[in-house]
Symmetry: C2
Subunit: 311 residues, 2 copies
Amino acid sequence: MRYLQSPETGLTFSSVIPAVERAFENHCEGEVQMPPKVYVTFPKGDFRTMPAYIPALDIAGVKIVNVHPDNRAAGLPTVMALTVILDIDTGKPVALLNATRLTDMRTGAAGAVAAKYLAPKPDIVLGLIGSGRQAEAQLEAVSEVCALQEFRVWSRDEKNAEALISRYPQYEGKTGSLETVCDCDVLCTTTPSRTPIIRDSWIREGTHINAIGADAPGKQELDPAILLRAGVFIDDYAQATHSGEINVPVSEGLYDPALIRGTLGEVVCGKIGRKNATEITVFDSTGLALQDLAIASIAMQENGGVELTFP
Amino acid sequence: MRYLQSPETGLTFSSVIPAVERAFENHCEGEVQMPPKVYVTFPKGDFRTMPAYIPALDIAGVKIVNVHPDNRAAGLPTVMALTVILDIDTGKPVALLNATRLTDMRTGAAGAVAAKYLAPKPDIVLGLIGSGRQAEAQLEAVSEVCALQEFRVWSRDEKNAEALISRYPQYEGKTGSLETVCDCDVLCTTTPSRTPIIRDSWIREGTHINAIGADAPGKQELDPAILLRAGVFIDDYAQATHSGEINVPVSEGLYDPALIRGTLGEVVCGKIGRKNATEITVFDSTGLALQDLAIASIAMQENGGVELTFP
């Protein structure tokens, strides 16, 4: 059994995005086992257990991931993850991956897959709401599949937005108000908001939105009126209605889950997609165990790590 | 984050049994979080993911455990387990335990807790059906809470039964037919049987049975007629009806889950118990994540292990 402390070393979105795209394809084709994420709640946070098996990749395992919003004060990331990979033939744990950075990357990669199929055009203005690790992952991943004319960033603290822009001098970057940043082709929302900070009137026709921030009951970033104007694509039905962008509007009766267009897997398989250039599209991302296995399968190809005796 | 390769070193049933007993008490008092075990199926086996949180012990984590019946041919145990322990305050993984032997011990400890409260008398004849690791764990654990007058062992291969007996010269041990071994005060069934090998006519009044072997859909060891004569105690309702001794009789309509007397937690809390000295009692054990956390909490008190950098 091998422990990989930095399995993200050397990984690039150019290899991660196709791997995650194939996992969504496997998902659409029904060739996977992925029970719903299981939540356990702590006084200051929670943890989620995410088991899955992708026969096509010959990989199976479990990601264990926490969310503790106050961790920054303790000098720790809000979200930390560990993935345990099991041998299919014997059930023996063969690898443990520090999946904290891999989690950022696989979520970014899902945003890129959504943008690849749902962006209104190939050359885009990208809008980022939030300036944290996931905003950065969306920027890096989406820029692999779309040509960035420009990117715009809004952050609660403008200094953080400016710092993000300074790290990507190769792109034309600007800070802006929420309204200005929403005036774009592909919008990625990555905040932990519990109120809809994105107003319906700010979203113009044709915009594709990666709604990333909402990943637990009670979280939402978009005015529910946007969902009613949009074609809504989710990653997984159970997870999206329980904890995704649509969870609050669904629980309040403002959005009917029957309106969901389908899954990103179905988009990748070509079963569904954007209807026309003026349609607004939303990808409601909650994060699938399949994405974690897909990125683990690449990360494990690297040698190294600490060998641990088991059993 | 620390990896403990042999956390069972130095552990004895004299400390494990009270810890597991307290976990069942916490379970009865509702002071735990324990979502149902989640199964993922492989061509040659399966794995189960078992998250839980016991606030009273300030411990939380996930056990990942496989069952691959053909593993012996590959020189590996059929069942291997890894437990990941998380810090409550930050969600950070703090310990990884090789829980293969701990799993044997915590299952043995549950059998001892059941025997402590449900055995018909303090001095017992113990019957063991099966002679593997779990038969041995039941022998060691039950002998901590009951005085063994004698123990009897049945195994498909009598040599294995004799080998088990030779390892415990401090007790009077005998091999015997299924019928002879069933003629006892406390019977522990530990086989992977999918047909009821224990006949109703062999079980005399007053016998307590630890039904351990059935831990997945389709498995059963006892003639369902025994269940209809007995007071049946389970560890967890969802798990017992899905994968415990009662799962096949329930699915075939031979046993009504409404007949279940209650949980072992309720027995430990004094809410329910054996009605009289002649009642047959059955403890249907499927194994709880709480037991895994209880034993982990003791095992982690030992120093040592390999320190791993995380995150």
